[in-house]
Symmetry: C2
Subunit: 245 residues, 2 copies
DNA sequence: GCGCAAACTAGAACAGATTCTAATCCGTGT
DNA sequence: ACACGGATTAGAATCTGTTCTAGTTTGCGC
């Protein structure tokens, strides 16, 4: 059962799959949610960081371990998709016990999310290094989205896996908001999720969801890169009209 | 392994999950895709109908059987979501053997898709019976989408399950196009997927993906009905501007 | 009435995710 | 140096989707 445990331990509970959990009811043992007295509300760095517990000693090797895990996962996923990224295999490649892997990532989805996070980090870095130069807000947004699209296209297996998981994930880490923020940032001058109007945030979010959808269609083989570009342009032109400073 | 069989048999291969299948490689036995000499390219009615083989005799009881299965599946899903809709259980409730269930629906996803199809049929029927009356194209589209939203909200478990599966499904049955067509129909006078311009189709599709995304957010508990409505209105106003006859 | 092929059935078998167990490690406080 | 608790580990055990097997049933043409 996926009844998420209350994040308790001195470990890096990197999970994100929480959900209201509307009375699941897997027969069999009904382990009451409980276990560790130790508490701590994961400070939550940028992406779900390991969040060292109280002290901070073992943290070092734990960071390494987490890194090895995500790395192994990404490697496996990049060829063969999520299916090839089997928990046993990941654990093996990362040199940790299956149980440990599950301690770091309560579910496969959490692991996938971690990998996706890294990808998004990469995109943001790329954007910083070479900001979109188009004249219009829509143009800049399209630039960013297509850049991301190209990046994902390079490893279709991984992309497919990640995008799907991303959508499926009962993620607490709003990737949607992250993309919306990114789009807002490149669209208007000093726009941010904070300073933008509710309408602007909604519109940026909408563009983001259109992009994800198109991406999905492409991965299904129903869209070519060009078609996506065209569609994103069409949507962006309307959704982001009048966003310029 | 999900290496889809070439649709061969005198049965109702209701599947839809096909995918390029980029070299899967489950170890163990590597059963060569083969088995039935009988062939037949499922005529494919509206939604993936049972598609009787050559004759047409046994079809009757098969229709019943298929109906019982989908019904059982929907019932289970409506309380407990996809997780509660276990293949074994569905087969049991429908009074068929697990093997038979798999003959009708090659994978769980196919079953889910069948259930979703019924839901969409319901929506289309509802629209016909009581067409949206708003004055603007956007208004009518919003009307339709929010009506669908309310319908899905009634059975959150089922909705969640279905929407997710729908997105995930490597469906050959483009639900997206179906929604887009529906939206086009209520937006412009004689608009249809055929008569609309490429841009219009793209825009209707975009609105559809925004809706799905918002729905997903709602199911994740990050949106209220009102928020969705507002966001859909915002997006529709821009995306469907100038759609009137 | 007989024989065949496809559809069905019951149930075993497999695979991969997730959970559980018992024993060992390791860093910290004493 | 010693005890303690959380972190790890190897591996068994569960759970559920999917596949496979062997035997039975059913509709049809002869």
């Amino acid at each position: 059962m996926r009844t998420s445990h209350a994040g308790a331990a001195t470990v890096p509970p990197d999970h994100v799959t929480h959900r209201p959990d509307p009375g699941r009811q897997t027969p069999g043992r009904a382990t009451g949610a409980s276990q560790g007295p130790a508490d701590e509300a994961s400070p939550g760095g940028p992406h779900g960081a390991p969040a060292p517990a109280s002290q901070g000693a073992r943290t070092r090797s734990q960071h390494q371990r987490r890194k090895r895990i995500v790395q192994a996962a990404a490697a496996l996923a990049s060829r063969g998709g999520v299916e090839a990224m089997q928990m046993r295999t990941v654990a093996e490649r990362a040199g940790v016990a299956l149980g440990t892997l599950y301690r770091y990532f309560p579910s496969k989805m959490d692991l996938v999310v971690a990998v996706v996070s890294e990808e998004i980090d990469l995109l943001e870095t790329s954007i910083e290094r070479r900001p979109p130069s188009a004249a219009t807000p829509a143009g800049r947004a399209v630039d960013v989205l297509m850049r991301a699209t190209r990046g994902l296209m390079r490893e279709p297996e991984l992309a497919d896996a990640l995008i799907r998981s991303l959508i499926m994930a009962e993620v607490d880490t709003p990737f949607g908001d992250r993309m919306a923020g990114l789009l807002l940032r490149v669209s208007g001058e000093g726009l941010t999720l904070g300073s933008a109007t509710e309408e602007q945030v909604a519109l940026a979010g909408s563009l983001g969801s259109v992009w994800v959808h198109e991406l999905l269609e492409m991965l299904r083989g129903r869209r070519t890169y060009e078609q996506i570009q065209r569609r994103i342009e069409i949507a962006a032109d309307r959704l982001l009209a009048g966003f310029g400073a």
